[in-house]
Each structure stands twice: as structure tokens, then as C-alpha cells.
């Protein structure tokens, strides 16, 4: 691929990223603010000789993804908050059957029908197993159009590597805005689209039949599956935590934010640094696994640190920061939701008051 710069929305960048990552099957249902993604896939998937289906419901879409994934193909669906709630049973089945899949949530305001403005109120749902059972999805939070594109390859690779669903947590702002996207940077090897994993259902030609299941009624068997899953999650926690840091060497105050909120917070941190304030930033990129080690390291290395968590919610990632620090540093919070976004002025005011 040649080096090329294009102007594109976040939603379309996700679609393009998915196709370039070898996504073979997409099923979706209309919901704002992710419609650009569905329409991009409707246009681009058939052109790339891939499968696009407008499903009759969010529930049907996630179960079509279950089928395509069980058949061994890279499969994804996308939606926004209320639609993601509907998909939760299906995501639990994917986790239970250990099927890879990518699910994109372009978050909007809630609860209920809420509104169509950007929000980060689905953090708990994404990171705490939104459906039933003891499971985790890997959760990636892009904060730019470039990352919206790049993380799709990462998401499919992680989903395949761990045979686990991966969530992309975007939001209405990131999905709708346009930014330049640089193509051709990727050092990833292209994915062989028609590669069939050995566990997939493809017809039992020259092998024993495969069964994809999550039902285990015999005593002790389901417990064994759960222990196996827990081992897998432990490995993911050890290996896959990702984050960005800024000015942590001498920072006394550390701001913590992800996604759209991190864009605003990053600009605040840079502005206050210019004014000589000893301030830094941690931007979690994986929300699960949460990058807790950087928090633990900092709290041991520097005494008297203050953390300010800023979210477009009323304090959801805040809990993970507190759990990571385990009382070793002071944690403050600033958040707005339901379409409200903490402004630069509000954040600066809060930092000064710390």
C-alpha cells in the first residue's frame, strides 16, 4: 500500500480499518450516531467481495456474527449504546463459546433512549461483562481517526489470538468528526481471509466433527471451562494492557482520560505545562485489561501524587483508577454526561483548585 493521506470520519475509518484487516462479514442495524459505519460497509464490503447484511435487529446482527465467526471468518457488528445493550446476550455466548469477533460501540447519551450526543457512559457495560456470566471482552478505546482505523487490525488480531470478543469503544464525537488518516503505515502482514481455523465449523471433511458450544450440564465441566477462561484473562491482563503517557517524569498532578475526553485533557495538560505546572497524563488505550501497573508503579515511585480522572460519565473508569491505586494516592473526579462534555476551562479550574 502506498503512503496516502485521506480525510474521513471516525465511523468510516473504523469500516475501512475492518476491511483492510480482513473482516469478511458485517451485520448491522441502523442507529445514530454510528450510521456512517453501516453505510460505509454496505458500499465497501460487496466491492471487496465480502458479506454485508442489514439485519432485522441488533440481536439478529450479533447472532449472525456468531455464525460467521463459528464458521471461521473474521466477523464484526457495530451499534450505539441502546443497540449494544441488546447485543449483550450474544456477546456472552461468543465469550462462552470462545469465538473471536469485533463489536464497535459508538457511544451515545443514556440511560434509556437518551440522546445522540457523545458520551462515555457504557464503560461499566464494556469492561465488566455486559452480559451474563464471568467473562471479559478486550476493550480498545481509540482517541483519533488514525487510531479508529489502526485499532481494527489490532482488534481482529487480538480476537483471533485469544478466541475472545473485542469491543471498540468509540463515541458520537469521534465517530462523526473528520480528520486526516494516513494509510500505508501499517507493518502488519495482511490477513489470509479464507484461512479456516481448525476449531471452526466448515464441514467434517477428513476430520472429526467440530462442535461450537457453551452449554455444559455435566457436573464440574462448566467450572473447568470457567477456570480455563480465567487463565486466559490472566494472560491477557499480563500481556495486553496498553496506554499512552505524557510528562510523567516530574508530574505532581496526573490527569486520566480516554477516547474523546483524552483529546481535551491532552490539550489542557500541554497548556498547563507551558505555564510551568507539573502536570502529566495517562491515557488508557485498553480499558480492559486496565493498565493498572503504571498507576501502581507511579504511586510507589512518587509520594503525594494527585490523580484527576476526567470522563464523559459520572465516574466509571474512576473505579478502575481507584482499584489500581488501592488508596496509595489521592484520586479526584470531574465528569459530565448526557451530552455534556467537561470543557478545557472546567478542567483547568479543577486542576488549579487541587
Amino acid at each position: 500500500m502506498v503512503n496516502k493521506k485521506i480525510l474521513i470520519t471516525g465511523n468510516e475509518a473504523i469500516g475501512k480499518g475492518a476491511i483492510d484487516a480482513g473482516c469478511f462479514f458485517y451485520a448491522g442495524y441502523p442507529i445514530t450516531p454510528q450510521n456512517e459505519l453501516t453505510s460505509y460497509m454496505a458500499e465497501s464490503m460487496p466491492k471487496a467481495k465480502r458479506i454485508f447484511i442489514q439485519a432485522e435487529s441488533e440481536i439478529s446482527a450479533i447472532n449472525m456474527v456468531f455464525g460467521a465467526s463459528a464458521a471461521g471468518m473474521r466477523a464484526m457488528t457495530s451499534s450505539s449504546s441502546p443497540g449494544i445493550s441488546l447485543k449483550q446476550e450474544g456477546i456472552s455466548y461468543l465469550a462462552g463459546a470462545e469465538l473471536p469477533a469485533v463489536i464497535v460501540n459508538v457511544m451515545r447519551g443514556g440511560p434509556g433512549l437518551g440522546n445522540i450526543a457523545a458520551a462515555q457512559s457504557d464503560y461499566f457495560q464494556a469492561t465488566r461483562a455486559g452480559g451474563h456470566g464471568d467473562y471479559h471482552c478486550i476493550v480498545l478505546a481509540p482517541f483519533s481517526i488514525q487510531e479508529s482505523y489502526d485499532f481494527m487490525k489490532l482488534a481482529f488480531d487480538l480476537a483471533d489470538k485469544y478466541r475472545n470478543p473485542v469491543l471498540i469503544l468509540s463515541d458520537g464525537m469521534l465517530g462523526q468528526m473528520m480528520e486526516p488518516l494516513f494509510l500505508g503505515r501499517s507493518r502488519h502482514t495482511p490477513y489470509a481471509i479464507h484461512h479456516t481455523p481448525k476449531w471452526a465449523i466448515s464441514g467434517c471433511l477428513r476430520r472429526k466433527p467440530n462442535v461450537i458450544r457453551s452449554l455444559y450440564l455435566k457436573e464440574g465441566v462448566l467450572e473447568k471451562l470457567n477456570l480455563k477462561l480465567q487463565e486466559k484473562y490472566k494472560k491477557i491482563k499480563e500481556k495486553e494492557a496498553r496506554y499512552e503517557i505524557l510528562y510523567l517524569e516530574d508530574a505532581k498532578i496526573i490527569l486520566v482520560a480516554y477516547g474523546t475526553m483524552a483529546r481535551i485533557v491532552k490539550s489542557v495538560v500541554k497548556k498547563l505545562r507551558q505555564k510551568g505546572k507539573k502536570i502529566g497524563l495517562i491515557r488508557p488505550i485498553t480499558l480492559w485489561p486496565f493498565p493498572e501497573k503504571i498507576f501502581q508503579y507511579l504511586s510507589l515511585k512518587h509520594k503525594g501524587l494527585k490523580f484527576l480522572v476526567v470522563e464523559m460519565s459520572y465516574g466509571q473508569m474512576l473505579e478502575d483508577v481507584k482499584l489500581a491505586l488501592n488508596g496509595k494516592a489521592k484520586v479526584e473526579f470531574l465528569g459530565r454526561a448526557g451530552g455534556g462534555i467537561p470543557t478545557e476551562e472546567e478542567i483547568i479550574k479543577r486542576v488549579i483548585a487541587l
Binding site: 469478511f24 462479514f25 451485520a27 458479506i51 447484511i53 439485519a55 432485522e56 435487529s57 440481536i59 439478529s60 446482527a61 447472532n63 449472525m64 456474527v65 456468531f66 455464525g67 460467521a68 465467526s69 463459528a70 464458521a71 471461521g72 471468518m73 466477523a75 446476550e89 450474544g90 455466548y93 463459546a97 465449523i201 466448515s202 464441514g203 467434517c204 471433511l205 477428513r206 466433527p209 467440530n210 462442535v211 461450537i212 458450544r213 457453551s214 452449554l215
Partner: protein, 242 residues
Amino acid sequence: MQKIFSPPKSLRNIITHYCPGCGHGITQRLIAEVIDELKIREKVIGVCPVGCAVVAYDYWDFDCTEAAHGRALAVATGIKRVRPKNIVFTYQGDGDLAAIGTNETIHAANRGEKLTAIFINNAVYGMTGGQMAPTTLLGQKTITTPQGRKKEKEGYPLKISEMLAILPAVKYIARVALFSPQEVLKAKQAIKVAFENQINNLGFSLVEVLSPCPTYWKLSPKAAMDWIKDVMIKEFPLGRIK
């Protein structure tokens, strides 16, 4: 000496968990025989959703997947669209296909997915202990209609097969029963047609099997078969619907 009869290769030689007199065992065997006869065992994929149907994947000896309750035809759609050369079928109960999964059923049929659906109608929820199904007959007692199903409260038995027959993308619909050797043979023939249609890429096919549930009908296996013959087929007439 020539061997003229043996158990189907597509069925494992193990004891099922089904109750005495249940129709699942007969239907699952018929499906296995048809798959053997059509020589598609190596490319068939079965979809077994929640209910007594789900454990079929322990009895069949070919590739299968589970599906969440009601979602068999959505899962099957995903499989068939990415693997159009495979033969994909669903095996669903009445609660799955005609209550919680009605939406998936209607839309998969309306899209004309090249799928085969085998629909077990036993007029009751078996796995959960005998509750009213969408196909429960008027007056039929279940644990959630202890006085019998009343049309004023619970509506009428849902005739999903007749509903689907009006959809232009639906190729074939038949209703069969298992209460005599002749009917079993007819059932097998209908199942075969439904699979052949998929092999020939013709469109959506569904076979509704009126199947006994002696346990939750509170009848002996023989009386349950007779009840289908004497009572159930009056509400659900047998034969080709489309």
C-alpha cells in the same frame, strides 16, 4: 452377503437423554438418514438452539453449533453467507422458532436464505418443564395454562408455517407427523426435499414436525401418538403447505 441396513453414519451410537416416547429421537434419526443418503455429511452444518433441541449436537456426528434461544436462523444466516457451499440447517422447537425467535424466523425466510429449517412442534415447552408454547392448542393444559389455553387470554395456536408460506422467497413448507410408519416415511421424504432444495440453491425450506411430548402432555407414548392423530392434526393439518 450384502448388508442392506445399518445405523446412519451421521448419528453417534450413544443413548440420548430424551424421555420415553419423545419425537426428537425419531426426527434426529430421519435427518441423519437423509444426510447419509444425500452424501452431504462432510459439508453439513447443524444449528441447535436452546430447548430440548440443543443437545442434538451430542447425537449427530457432523459439524454443529449451538445458538442462543430463538437465534438459530440468524446464526445459520451468518454461516451460510460465509460458507455458501456448505449445507446449513437449523433444528428448532416451537418456543424457539415461533415465540422468542419469531423475528429471526420471518426475516431469514423473507430474505430467502438458502437454509433448511426443521421445526419440532410439540405444543409445549419441554426443557423448562411443560409451559404453554405458541402452538399449544386451545383448551390444552400446561403448567402455565392450568385451566387450559383460552383464546381470550392467550390467543390462538400460532400457525407459523402458514404465515411463512405467503413470503415470496420461501420455496417449500410441509407439515408432517410421526404417529405411524407411513407418516414417518412421509416425514423423511419432506426432510429430504428440504435438504435437496438447499443443495439445488432454490431458497428457504421448512419442515414442521408434529412431535409427541408424552411427559408434558401427561400421556403414555402410545396415547401421545394417538393424540397427534386424533386431535393435533385438526388444528395443524398435514401435507405440503407451499
